[in-house]
Amino acid sequence: MKRFIAIRLLQAIPVILTVITVTFFLVRVAPGGPFDSEKAVIPEVKAALEAQYRLDQPLFSQYLAYLGDLANGDFGPSFKYPGRSVNELIGAGFTVTAELGLYALLIATVIGGLAGIIASLRPNTVQDYIPMSLAMIGICMPTFLLGPLLVLVFGIELEWLPVSGWGDIPGDKILPSITLGAAYAAYIARLSRAGMLEVMNQDYIRTARAKGLPEWEVVVKHALRGGMLPVIAFLGPAFAGLLAGSFVVETIFQIPGLGRFYVQAAFNRDYTMILGTTVFLSTLIVLFNLLSDVLAASLNPRLRHQYEVGGMP
């Protein structure tokens, strides 16, 4: 297992290097530059600005210089926020987004997982339909609809909870976490239901049942492990989606998170910020995918065996 993790980590290096390279050259192709402004910019001023950020040098030497800085853990200065470093902006945004994402994922996994398991125990009965219909609402309702609706009901009509902010007023974290988590809860409910149904038909479950084990023991001890595999495989991508998807929630609730920074950086052509965020997020995504693979492997004895004898390169 250790070997497997080490190999995957080594493999991650070319992955991230490719991401950096592609993004670096991709952002430069986009029309408009970081210093274009609504009012015409004097050519001398524009030249001076570009010189200050090395943009006057040949693209390839800019690329090498960027890699050099990156090796020292320096993402460089932001173009849009001149006094700020990208490290600082990412640090500020990520702590918020990670907290939001964590709450959302927690809500999603607990509620979604429970709903899916309950539904899978009695397929095509009321016990199946009710949680699954609720899950469907989560899927069918975009965050930019659910968010405002929750705000309207709990924030404005009932005046129970604050309508915006993050950590400014007690309780202001509740609505955004629910809004972001709802869609994922629904996905997880469906995946765990499908996964459980898949497993419940397997021979070893039938064997367990045939041995006369009580149903709850069959479910908890035997079925859960296999039935939750699709959910675990989903968690890696879910986390990635959460970080990117948090943009909408962050905008609705005025939350100073990374998603908002990222989208704004793209629109502002803040090259260093786009690159920095991309590199940061890609590293996280690669790590989380690895984590979900490791978890899946440790739950699936056959795969684990394969990893341990080195079946995977």
Partner: protein
Amino acid sequence: MNDVVLQRIDDAEEGTSLWQDAWVRLRKNHLAVFGLAVLLFMIVVALLTPWIAPYAYDAQNLDLGASPPSAKHWLGTDIFGRDLLTQIMFGGRVSLAVGFIATSVALLIGVTYGAIAGYVGGRTDAIMMRLVDILYALPFMIFIVLLMVVFGRNVILLFLAIGAVEWLTMARIMRGQVQSLRQQEFVEAAVSLGLSPATIIRRHLVPNALGPIIVYTTLTIPSVMLLEAFLSFLGLGIQPPQTSWGLLISYGAETMEEYPWLLIYPGLTLTITLFSLNFLGDGLRDALDVRGSKD
């Protein structure tokens, strides 16, 4: 044990009876049939919209403005005094097209890619899945912005761009399925019988992995439709006066306190459609579940 294995090989080879069985089972599932009916209705309406819409889709009446539902405008009008029912009908054409076409693109690429990676395994699999990781980690926002800008904005490109982003998860799921199926006895038996990899993938792996694929497809269509709305909202998708359900909802959400009908009806339409899709997807999954059916 051997009997079971051989029986499965037979099942898989007799494709026609499998699908006939599935259809019989599907018809017994009322929710799925309802879903199918609603979906067909939506598709028919979308196709016929240019002929049956009550108003021209861009006909404005600024002085009327946003008005609540009435005998003249069943679902009310938007801030330009345009008939909301007409807007929803025309929006449906775009949303359904994006949903189905982009998902098909994603399905085609993802399933093929994932099946090959999972089946071949080894070094090929590792390389293929690293590529998926790379694409996952790419800032798709910029990717789509670039596509839209460099090649000019058009709807076909929007389909392709969304499809190209959404196939990744499909590939991962397919790969996972194939990997676990590959270790099952009936596949090993097929290998030992000397069937070619392409045949095994097509005949044994894909049909047996259909359940999860269909479930995930029903999950992808909504997310594709929402992605389209999100992009349009950022100004990277459909151009006005064309519209889509997602766009109508996001405009409606802005003014939900003053003109709730602008949010409720498009929201309801999208929700009903997605519910139907999901019921149908579930029904299909249960109907196609080869192993479950033999109990």
